[in-house]
Amino acid sequence: MKQTKTKDHAAMAEAFIKDEERVDWHDGALWYIREKRDIASKKIPEWEQLREAASMIKNNVISNLHEYLLQFEANLKKNGITVHWAADAEEHNAIVYAILKAKEITQMVKSKSMLTEECQLNEYLEERGISVINSDLGEYIQQIDNEPPSHIVLPCIHKRKEEIGELFHKHLGTEKGLSDPTQLTRVARKHLRNEFLSRRVALTGVNFAVAETGEYVVCTNEGNADMGAHLSEVQIASMGIEKLIPQKNHLSVFLRLLARSATGQPITIYSSHYKKPREGQEMHLILVDAGRTRQLGRADFRDSLKCIKCGSCMNTCPVYRKSGGLSYQNTISGPIGAILAPNLDMKMHADLPFASTLCGSCSNVCPVKINIHEQLYKWRQVIVKEGYAANTKALGMKTMAWTLSSPNSFNTAGRAGRWVLQNIPFVVNNKLNPWYKQRDMPEGSGQSFAEWYQKNGENNKEDLK
């Protein structure tokens, strides 16, 4: 499942920013969602306590994952659901393929699963002659454009409606130039309806899996995941092992937080509970590790597994809003993606923890209170020590550290000033410095404060007037 990457986040972002009009509406659309989230969260007086409760419940889950997984497995079996365990993406994909093959099925409908994107399931199955249709509208648009989702909740948020119209013209035969969202949605609906009716296998993701009951909950707004599941002969759910919650009543915390954080809605239109197969239906659930236990073993980063994939950290992140989700080159983009991705492939994703100003807004909106920006800082330390920090090496950190820690090399006021001018990376007085491309240098005041203080001494009150 190895991907390759030829450009880093900064280069991808720079390309995205060239189309400034696009960046402005992308930024505006996501900021609008952040504002909706603010309004929704401020209507609930106990919002901050809800976040704390969710954080504690998830802490409990990741601290007792072994027990909850076994309990969940036992209850799934009791309910008549077949349980599969997958150590990695390869195993996960092979399990799905084996289920399809046993039934001699060559078509599948899929919805609301970032995990299968992470596992690159579509590509795997297509190589084996199985066609997969993503039934979530945004995911479908990304699929026909042969592009990964750019946002975990809003997969094609970076696309203009005209671009979607053009795609539909090419793939679904709509009239050229048609870009009205309502009309395009109608066309997609009609097309997808036929797929639902003819496909015998439906795969969905899982938002919450309840250990005590062996049921799982899928939250959507379109209902397409439900339609696929209801019409299927074989229903498959794929979930990361961290998606558990201990009890059903904990949903009263998480369902209140999820949609408000994600889009500012009080709740998703559909919160569907799946527990038992219908008569004549087969249900499978695949529990996937794919690096999660490795992350669980990293004391500084295990908290990232509390994530409920609401996307609020992306909507609030100014770097994400200005650079677009595809610039992260990981299924999960934005701040949460930047702390999850290095666990999957530290070398390939070494750039992501640096794609942040550490402003901390992500940690504040996170409904399960993951300290995202602190983990970004900590990943930077790890990545540098492992020797993967290609872009920051150029900044001459060693020389800088040596000079700044030695009063003798920095000592007198004038020399200090000259040293700063020549060495602090963001104020290097050199026109080749990236600072200077679109920003002027500070003019300075001729005399440094240290020089002034040296001359005027400590009894300067008169001079200052």
Binding site: H9, A13, E14, I17, E20, D27, W31, S41, I44, W47, E48, T316, P318, V319, K322, S323, F354, A355, S356, T357, C359, G360, S361, S363, N364, V365, Q381, V384, A389, M397, K398, M400, A401, W402, T403, L404, S405, S406, P407, V420, I424, F426, V427, W435, K437, Q438, R439, D440, M441, P442, G444, S445, Q447, S448, F449, A450, W452, Y453, K461, L464
Partner: protein
Amino acid sequence: MTVGLFIPCYVNQFYSNAAKATLQLLQKLGVEVVYPPKQTCCGQPMANSGFEHLSQGCSDLFIENFSAFEYIVAPSASCVLHVKDHLTSQTNPELALSIRSKVFELVEFLTDVLKVEKLDATFPHKVGLHHSCHGLRGLYLSQMSELNAPPFSKPQHLLNMVKGLEQISLDRSDECCGFGGTFCIAEEAVSVKMGKDRVNDHIKSGAEYITSSDLSCLMHLEGILHRNNEKVKVIHIAEILNATL
């Protein structure tokens, strides 16, 4: 009360007026201020770039310069936060921890320690307040827009005491400006776009000045303003709080 004045490296070089205003303001308020001459840098540029392990020398020097003071005050929220969160010592860890609790950003020192309720300052201009992220979400100088919690703002509280000053309101009250230390170089395009958008919010709202308790944000915004020949100026909050006609 004796305060050790910590003037970060780039402030010393480029913004000596802000440093002088900090010194004078504290003196006006009856504080004894000493500037240890051998100071350099808090080590943040290294640490935030992933080279925290190279910043021990900076920490040691900081301790050497400032351990004797009752309080340490700096006109830079970001550098203060770095010291508060990361100052360490291999030989005397307790001393490092005690220094962490003695270091204050200027605004919080004025409101929390000196408990200033009145200032003799006049600044008859329209001013936009830029919250630095480290001041806001690190030092809690103001309430953060993301949280469902009662509003407050220490810098606004102080600016309200300044005669003639009119505070303008922004569309996005506390969005990051995109400076981010070495981020402003490593992610130049994103950094500048973020800065441009912050600047435009202030311009649109009619600000004559953008002020902040962090000069690093202001240096970045000023670089963009200047390049685009905008009339709006940046000014450190110490210069406003110390301004007379």
